[in-house]
């Protein structure tokens, strides 16, 4: 199965929509252990993304689309999540530069590049209570599933489930990176907002592919 450029645009639309729906929820999560802006930040960024994509020529390839998304996020989101998600999308774009459809391998590469970008930029690891805690398990689940010849929709479904588990796990641990780290032990018991938004994006990806 391949993912077409049209699919990519649908996924992005879905992400824009889901982030908007969860704007308040993500902000509330951030209020508890951060500074109450995560949902607002991402919503502002994805609104700009939506706007920006309408200005791209019909012929734009998937790599360029992803890089444009990344650059738009970097220049409109701010905070920690702006450079992190921005870098993720830009790196993802780099590895599929010039392509108009994505193979299953490409999708694994995209996840890998995004994850590496986030880790480099944020100097964080799994277990630090960040977005990495949902992205890394999702990447692993996706890769494993595809290596075991599971079809892409189901592989993405497993990735989303893994992201969800990772997100929920952030509730049990204390933060060592980002604003929540100032809380130390007091951050335990709260979901990480970035892990939650990352899950929502991966879930959107899976949902669009599974529904089409």
């Amino acid at each position: 199965m391949v993912i077409t450029k049209n699919d990519v645009l649908k996924i992005v639309d879905k992400i824009v929509e889901v982030i908007k729906e969860n704007k308040e929820y993500l902000t509330e999560l951030d209020a508890a252990i951060g500074d109450a802006d995560h949902g607002i930040n991402l919503d502002r960024g994805f609104d700009a993304v939506k706007q920006k994509l309408t200005t791209l020529p019909e012929t734009t390839d998937i790599g360029t689309i992803l890089k444009t998304i990344g650059m738009t996020l970097v220049s409109t989101v701010g905070g920690a999540s702006g450079p992190l998600y921005g870098t993720a999308f830009m790196r993802a774009g780099q590895v599929v530069q010039g392509k108009n459809e994505l193979s299953e391998e490409d999708i694994v590469k995209i996840f890998e590049a995004a994850l590496d970008g986030i880790k480099q930029r944020g100097k964080a690891e799994a277990g630090d209570k960040t977005m990495i805690d949902s992205i890394e398990p999702a990447y692993k689940a996706l890769k494993d599933s595809l290596e075991n010849n599971i079809a892409l929709p189901e592989a993405l479904n497993r990735a989303a489930n893994a992201a969800k588990e990772g997100m929920e796990y952030t509730k049990n641990i204390s933060a060592r990176k980002g604003r929540a780290s100032y809380l130390g032990e007091r951050s335990i018991g709260h979901l990480d907002p970035g892990a939650t938004s990352a899950y929502l994006m991966i879930k959107s990806f899976s949902d669009v592919v599974n529904l089409s």
């Binding site: 951060g34 500074d35 970097v74 409109t76 060592r176 980002g178 100032y182």
Partner: protein, 332 residues
Amino acid sequence: MKKLINNPNDVVKEMIEGLLAAHPSYLRKLDNIDVIVRKDAPVEGKVGLVSGGGSGHEPAHAGYVGYGMLDAACPGAVFTSPTPDQIYEAIKAVDGGKGVLLIIKNYTGDVMNFEMAREMAQMEGIEVDEVIVNDDVAVENSTWTQGRRGIAGTVFVHKIAGAKAQEGASLQEVKRVAEKVIANVRSMGMALTPCTVPAAGKPSFTLAEDEMEIGIGIHGEPGTHREKIKPADEIVEHLMEKIINDLPYKENDEVAVMINGLGATPLMELYVANRKVAEILESKKIKVYKTYVGEFMTSLEMSGFSITLLKLDEELKTLLDAKADTPAFKQL
């Protein structure tokens, strides 16, 4: 949410317009991007100083742009660090040929955005260096965390590095004094009431009518703990103990003091706090060289305050005393 605003989404844009209308002799804005620079930027032969952070900390940071302090401030969305393109444009606009120093408060987001901008500017051949302010003793300093937050002590970095840059010192020298300030400055705050990010529409946290949060961050991040409200003197004692023991500040040291209101605390109460601060310092034979009382690094309409101590040597005293003329910080 009771605020004197129009649409919550326009608050930063409209604040900037009101700021420019108020201070046309000090400030101008770059075209098409939210960067506030000195009217006369770039100042030839002077190291450019760029700072910034989320909005909601007014007068920081645009209020400190002017003679003897910053060359540019980048206001982000409320409580959200500015983006790399803002900072990059700021660097380009204030580079007077001697390089640019970024003064960054130690938050993951700020550090990442400033460093991305620094990389972009360096690729264009501009000499850019940075310092990271982390004065908040409420936060454990550990290699396992992001490290301490930058709060009101940042204003002393702006003042002193700004005075050094104004003298015509090299980037290396300006960075050296900025780091000397950072090494010698410590702060801690507390809140009586929370603040509300306009776009969020509800308070970032809640405190009962008889509760306060000790060690609050300037973005409403939770502090070290919550307890029943105490008399001002006891609160000051607690904060001072944490601050003094941290460096530590010792007998015969000379310090500058900053009593910083977080937004809704009347000046009357800040002076009541300063009374106890002065008493404690006197009892410990730490000499007060200069005291600043007012709103320097706020958190929207949060009620509360922070105390900052800066240990001074002769060099820092001279630079602290130097003339400054900015919208929010004037010294003759």
